[in-house]
Amino acid sequence: MNKDQDLPLRSDIAARFVPKIVILMVYLGTLCFTFTFFMIHSTLLWEEKLTTNLSIEIPFFSDGSSANLQTQVTDLLQNTPGINKVEVVPKEEMKAVFHSLLGESTNIDTFSLPAIVDVSLNQRDGFDVKNLEMRLKNMSPLIQLIDHRLWQSQVSNLLFTSTSLALLLTFLILCSTLVTTFFATRTSLLIHRKIVEVLSLIGATPSYIAKQFQRNAFKQGFIASSVGAFLAFLTFLGIYFLFKNAGQTFIITTSFFFEVLAIFILAPFITAFFMMLSARRAVMKALCS
């Protein structure tokens, strides 16, 4: 005999469907959270690699004045406050880009390729681009200034929105699991009304009765969410190997892999804990009102 058997909750008809729902919810929830985590991780990696804020395109002049103009431009950039780094993109690197787009057989040397100067700013915001552009246009109206910050912030916003939505979805999945537990507990209380009444009459406190439901919800939640998390982990591995076999780069690092593994291990504990709280709330609300 142990203390959680004062109520026959194990054979409870009301709670029979709960483990199946929890398996599904935890499966979806952990995958959704992993996706969120992946998005956050990828965004941080991407932002870390983003060092170029502006690019200056200096056109090619057949009279050979391009080199002189390039020197003037780099001098101007190096003497402009707020600019951290100025780097001329090597011809080989540009050729490699064109080769990847047009094919290895294309003779890039016949093209009149412009010179590209990458510029890193000290701070992403607060730099007067209009003024710089005006000064560059004074040197040559054909010089183009490309501000990468515009599309970078758009991509950043998109990533932030996706991450927020995924987080919201995870939260909703957790909420629906807790609501299911709450109502299953209420139904269970109704089914065992007679026993609960006898327990109350012999002096059992609402907290004592709630503990019986809590323990049951924790056990049930832990077992079901372990199954859900395990299935989600298998799915994650499946997706990982699918990408790997297809030759796609699925940006995950070793640390990310272990962090994800921690999510799958922690998910059953977290879900079971919240299910336990939900069951307690349902009982205390019913018995103390």
Binding site: N2, Q5, D6, P8
Partner: protein, 229 residues
């Protein structure tokens, strides 16, 4: 006058739109007292006990138990009052999914008494009421009399300050009824106030304690009967 642990003042009740089962009931339960509640079937004996064990809220009047107004007390504190009361229910109210020993030790367990200690205590009590062989049996397998004895053992295991028993001898033979009454007497001697609803005339004659008779919805105190030989 000794300490009053229960007080009913102007208590009246009716179920739904039915007739009033009693009205203006006044009586006190003193610490260590022993009373029988008598009356015809349907006179409201069980309802009166229900009010006393806080299983029924009367429509009129006030009920004080252990100095607390049961109408004013916070619901969360009700279990603390109930823990001072032992109840033998008319329908026994044993939990069918628990063995007899689990049923009997339940009041101790809900008070957080160690399981081993509660089992030991329950086993002793079950031996005393003649259910020593039925400890691991489930209530549906017991006879009416055995259930009655198990219910009594459960009610007294905590040595309550007030024992309420609804027809505790209804399903047992005279010998066992007498034995159970002796048990109640022993408990009474330790300071427990005992209130027994019964219409067993032999018991009433053999145990001449004050009787509260429920007639026409009111309680009358009857003179103590002469003890039968």
């Amino acid at each position: 006058m000794s300490e009053v642990i229960g007080e009913l003042l102007g208590v009246g009740h009716q179920y739904d739109e039915g007739p009033e089962i009693f009205k203006g009931v006044n009586f006190y339960i003193e610490k260590g007292s022993f009373h029988f509640i008598t009356g015809l079937s349907g006179s409201g004996k069980s309802s009166l006990l229900k009010i006393l064990y806080l299983g029924l809220k009367p429509k009129w009047g006030s009920v004080k138990l252990f100095g607390e107004d049961t109408f004013q007390i916070k619901p969360i504190l009700l279990p603390l009052l109930r823990q001072k009361i032992g109840v033998v229910f008319q329908e026994f109210n044993l939990l069918d999914h628990l063995t007899v020993i689990d049923n009997v030790s339940l009041p101790l367990r809900v008070r957080d008494v160690d399981i081993k200690r509660s089992y030991k205590h329950a086993a002793e009590l079950l031996d005393w009421v003649g259910l020593g062989d039925c400890m691991k049996v489930y209530p549906p397998s017991l006879s009416g009399g055995q259930k009655q004895r198990a219910a009594i053992a459960r009610a007294i295991i905590t040595r309550p300050q007030l024992l309420l028993a609804d027809e505790p001898t209804a399903n047992v033979d005279d010998e066992m009824a007498t034995k159970l009454l002796y048990l109640f007497e022993e408990l009474n001697k330790t300071g427990t106030a005992v209130l027994i609803a019964t219409h067993n005339q032999r018991i009433l004659k053999k145990f001449p304690y004050p009787q509260l008779a429920l007639r026409e919805g009111t309680v009358f105190q009857l003179p103590v009967e002469k003890k039968a030989s």
